[in-house]
Each structure stands twice: as C-alpha cells, then as structure tokens.
C-alpha cells in the first residue's frame, strides 16, 4: 500500500448526509446543492468516518466487491480526490 493509502478522509463539516437504501444523499447548504451518489460512491461515502484510512476503506471494498486491491484503491482515491475538490470531504 502506498503512502496515499494512509490518508484519512472525513466528511466536510459543511455537508449533511444520510444513506437511503444504499444510496447516499449529500446536501451542501452553502451551495444550495443536493447530490445523490452512485452505489459504489455511496458505499465509500458511508465508509468515510474520519478515522478509517483509504487503505482500510479499500480492505472493506475488496471484501464486498469482486475487485483487486490496486484497482479498488485507484477508484477510491479518484473518487475521494474528486469529493475533496468539491469540498465534500477533507483529509485529516
């Protein structure tokens, strides 16, 4: 696992979210935006809790999906970086 696997994401304090039957609804009041994430994105959002590292999230994903760890980490980091760009998560 690379150094990027040690990074720990957390939901940004400006968001509010819930998981509805496996689909994450994320509200950012400051932008007046409501987003619905796809199933994999929703699962990653659910696993982001401010204490799990990317590597730990990837371990969970590889146990739940038929995916190799490298691909899972790449996908997870791409999504988390995109979420960070939108100020939906922060890196602890």
């Amino acid at each position: 696992m690379t150094d990027s696997g040690k990074r720990v994401p957390a939901h940004h304090s400006r968001t509010a979210s819930r998981i509805f039957s496996g689909e994450a609804v994320v509200i950012t009041p400051a932008e007046n935006k409501v987003r619905m994430l796809n199933p994999v994105g929703s699962r990653i959002w659910e696993l982001v809790d401010g204490s799990r590292s990317v590597a730990e999230i990837v371990v969970v994903l590889t146990s739940e999906y038929d995916v190799d760890p490298q691909h899972a980490q790449r996908t997870t980091l791409e999504l988390l970086d995109a979420l960070a760009e939108k100020d939906l998560i922060v890196w602890n």
Partner: protein, 277 residues
C-alpha cells in the same frame, strides 16, 4: 393593565403561543379555531405593527446557524431557533394572516425534524377511506388541482402544506391551516390526520401511471419542494434523519396523471389503468 394571554396553536404536534395585540386576536382565533390548543407551548411568536421595508432590499430570506430572518414589502420577521421564539412585524393590519403564516411555515419547517422527527411538506393531502394520499411537486405540478378533484371523493387535509410524522401506528399525514391561494372557498382549515397510504410526486401526463421511487429519489423530490428545510448543515442533518425514518415506511411514487376524477379510481386500483386510445 391586564396582560392578554396568547393564542396557542397546535400544528402537526408543534405547539406555538402567538401573542398579538387585542384588535387582531378575533381574526386569529377565527382563522385557527380548529388548531387552538391548551397544550404547553414550546415556541413563542409575537406579532406587532411597525414593519418598514429596507428600500434597497424589499425581499430577502437569510439563514444563520440558529436563526432565519425574512423581509418583504409588507412584512418581515426574525426566527430565533435557539431561543424558540420569533417576531413578525406588519406594515398594516391587512397583512396579519399572510405574515403570521409565512413565519409559522418557516418555524414548522425547521422545528418539526428536530422536535418531533416530522417534516413539513409543500404538498396537498387527501383522505379517502381513512387513508391519506399526499401529493408533492413544485408550483404548477398539480397539488391544488388534485385537491379540487377530491370534491365528492375524499376529505382534503390541505392543498398547500402537509405534515408527515410517525404516529403510534406508523407514518401519518396531518393537516395544517396553511392553504394556498388557488381555491380560498374550499379552505376548510380543520385539524385532521390519517395513516399515510403513499406519497406521490406529481407529473402532468395524458395517461395515468405510477413509477416507484427509491428513498433517495424521493428525498430529492421532497427537498426540492421546500429548500428552506436544509439551509444549514445541522438543520439539513435533522431533516435527512426524519426523512430516513419516514421514507423507510412509506411508498413513494412518480404519479403521472391527467386532471380528471378518474384519478381516484386509478389510485384505488392502479393496475387496472388502460392507456388512452
């Protein structure tokens, strides 16, 4: 001077004491007769004269972490969510009812999720055979139309705002006194509630059809109908928590409909609907 006791209203289980000058009390008491309560008020609203709109900001709604304030040409208000109190000021007597109702809608929208796990929806509701059908959608989607179509087919709970909450027997729809302007002659303003049969997101069409929505899709529809509920992260979180509890127990559909009373037969037996020739 003898202090005047406020009128106490119960809307959807939120009990609000409304203090107003003596001359306005009869109008308020008449308007909200069926919603008067002897319960202990958890919120206090004072209504007074003396609103002067800011010339450069005639219309605004602003939200802080613990407050909402709004202003229009004829009235304005301040809602202190932490202190559970509000003030509404009017430019003249004729704006008493719209001003107070605007404040009460803002108050209930934000108080219901936190205090009672409920939601105030921009929706119409119709009670048929003891079950409530609730119709949501943006302006023009057909909420008032559906309420008009209920004449002779059911009891309209309200044509503009409905409370959803968890009752002892499950989700229920509760009437509010906040009716729309479309059909003032039909506004009953009765305090009613019924077990919730389903929520419908309205869509005009030439035929009738029902498409199930996932809970997340349903949330998007409900939020779009009343964005003020989610203007701050803490309030958005409370709103989502209440929505999650309610939507886990309520079917939600996209309802395509044409504005005829066939609607009620269709909802009673949606699988028998025939496409238009």
């Amino acid at each position: 001077m003898i202090p005047v006791a406020p009128l106490t209203l119960d809307v959807g289980g939120i009990v609000v004491a409304v203090a107003a000058p003596d001359p306005w009390r009869p109008r308020l008491a008449a308007r909200y007769a069926d919603f008067l309560s002897s319960g202990a008020a958890g919120w206090h609203v004072a209504v007074r004269a003396g609103w002067h709109a800011e010339p450069k900001r005639r219309s605004f709604v602003e939200h802080g972490e613990t407050w909402t304030r709004f202003g229009y040409a004829d009235f304005g208000g301040w809602l202190d969510l932490a202190g559970r109190q509000a003030i509404v000021a009017l430019a003249s007597d004729e704006h008493l009812l719209p001003a107070l109702e605007r404040m009460l809608v803002y108050l209930l929208t934000q108080a219901l999720p936190q205090d009672a796990g409920g939601l105030l929806l921009h929706a119409s509701g119709v009670m048929r055979q003891g079950q409530a059908h609730v119709f949501v959608g943006p302006s023009g989607a057909g909420k008032s139309t559906v309420a008009r179509l209920a004449s002779g087919y059911g009891q309209v709970l309200c044509d503009e705002n409905i409370v959803l909450r968890l009752g002892a027997a499950g989700p229920e729809a509760v009437s509010t006194p906040f009716w729309g302007q479309a059909t003032p002659e039909t506004a009953a303003r009765l305090r009613l509630s019924a077990p919730l049969s389903a929520l419908y997101a309205l869509q005009h069409a030439s035929t009738f059809s029902l498409t199930p929505l996932t809970p997340a899709q349903a949330v998007l529809v409900l939020i779009d109908s009343l964005r003020i509920a989610v203007e701050q992260p803490a309030r958005a979180s409370a709103w989502l928590a209440a929505a999650k509890n309610l939507l886990a127990q309520v079917p939600v559909y996209r309802l395509s409909f044409r504005p005829t009373t066939e609607l009620w037969d269709f909802l009673a037996n949606p699988h028998s609907a025939q496409p238009m020739p």
